[in-house]
Subunit: 260 residues, 2 copies
DNA sequence: TGGAATGAGTGCGTATTACGCACAGTTTGT
DNA sequence: ACAAACTGTGCGTAATACGCACTCATTCCA
């Protein structure tokens, strides 16, 4: 048994296993002992400990130990209460700014626009204007493209049919097929680029953020002057943002497509 | 330390406390050690065990140990998946029938009717007809009154205004004020009675069932011939049904108004 | 109705194991 | 670049968690 130098606490481990077994179906000291391969007295003590912490209850009907629904729901509720994701994103935006030096921001989709819901200004004297609360058409911004590119096709088509194409710079994409091509490239890369399509001299990179149901709920990215944010840097940062937004998504319970 | 003969497992207890602390806010071995009053190495081993069971994750951003949102949600999901409460009620109905010998059933509200969604026939040769799927006006049935009596006043008023009063026996209550009086008595007692108001010679007793949000979602009760189900028995069983439906509600996560 | 059987809960002694200490390795900040 | 702080690990020991055996309660069957 000395294969692994106790970095895992046996009795805690057993207790957690017991909790999962009770979740599946209610248990008695007897039944749990059999499933865990321990003495009945040990199983009893485990159940009693779980009981003391309100993780399980005794069913008054038949005295079986059952999972405490309220406890589990209170756990879930405690989590959802903290899932104000614009705020949750702040540390990730901070890391993004630290890595790039540029302004980092988070935006959500609203109709055919994106709205910036969190923003950290760049570190340099020259940086993009703060855009907290700012609204932009989806088709000009990197965050917009990042979101749009990863939505289900039906939803994407619906939104694209509502878009009123108006150029903001001479690089703005205003052709549906060209834009669909850009979205395809975004999906391939995993991050979206705004190459002076919103403002001349400003580039952006962004990647989508998913919630625990794997739905696209936002995008995060950086914006900066094209002089610093060269196309080389855009792609370097893009790969990083893709990774970081995935980390952020996972922290909110999204499935880990790469490892999980 | 020998106050209590270890009916609680210390290390498991500590681990569960740790889990709740991590739920509140992410932790490190250091911070957890301080909060639990143990050595850092112990805190590390606890976190590592929780990690091995996927109850916590390491935040890739700062390497902090954070609650695993997916795990908690999967627990909640596993529970809600089993919360097909008509089925869940079966063992409770079984106990009810065992106690009374009469037909036991569960009904939900639909508009101004109740619909029976689970039913266990009585044990005697003479018993009420099976009523699975049967629909009845709220104002004639005990289950209807049990539900109506405990709804919020606004909802109750709304439903009562929609009721079309039609007598089914000469005991059927068809007067709004009289009915409101009956509902008041039901609230006071904690259980509702149908004293030959639906069919002559048939009595019923029922009490409300609540979900985890403390909302009334159904009522359970027994029905039987008035010859066996005397008024004395009706009240005896009523007290029992009140208790049993509370147990059932609690098993689905409802707040325990009496003890909790 | 009574007697056997099954299972819950508890005291006790011991062998396990979980703990704290000390050290190594790594990262962060100045 | 150096120091400080923290994570993660080996080790010895003392605490403790475990299994055994027992009591008590409940159920089942005659």
């Amino acid at each position: 048994m000395s294969e692994n130098q106790s970095t895992v606490i046996q009795s805690l481990s057993r207790g957690l296993t017991a909790l999962e077994l009770v979740l599946e179906q209610s248990a008695t000291p007897q039944s749990l002992a059999k499933e865990l391969g321990v003495d009945r007295s040990t199983a009893y003590r485990i159940l009693n400990t779980l009981l003391a912490h309100d993780f399980v209850l005794r069913d008054p009907l038949d005295d079986q130990y059952v999972i405490n629904v309220r406890k589990v729901f209170s756990f879930a509720h405690s989590i959802t209460g903290k899932l104000h994701f614009p705020t949750l994103a702040t540390p990730y935006l901070g890391k993004l700014r630290q890595k790039t030096g540029e302004a980092a921001s988070l935006a959500v989709l609203q109709d055919t626009d994106v709205v910036y819901v969190n923003h950290l200004p760049g570190e340099e004297a020259i940086t993009v204007a703060p855009m907290l609360g700012v609204r932009r058409p989806v088709y000009v911004s990197a965050v917009g493209k990042a979101i749009l590119a990863h939505l289900p096709e039906s939803e994407r088509s619906r939104l694209l049919s509502l878009v009123e194409w108006k150029p903001m710079t001479d690089k703005t994409i205003t052709d549906l097929d060209a834009f669909r091509g850009a979205l395809y490239a975004t999906r391939q890369r995993g991050y979206a680029i705004d190459d002076e399509e919103t403002f001349e001299g400003v580039r952006c990179v962004a990647a989508p953020v998913r919630n625990h149901r794997d739905e696209i709920i936002a995008a995060m990215g950086v914006s900066g002057p094209a002089t610093r944010l060269t196309l080389n840097r855009v792609h370097e940062y893009g790969a990083y943002i893709r990774r970081l937004s995935l980390d952020f998504s996972i922290s909110m319970g999204a499935p880990d497509a790469e490892h999980g």
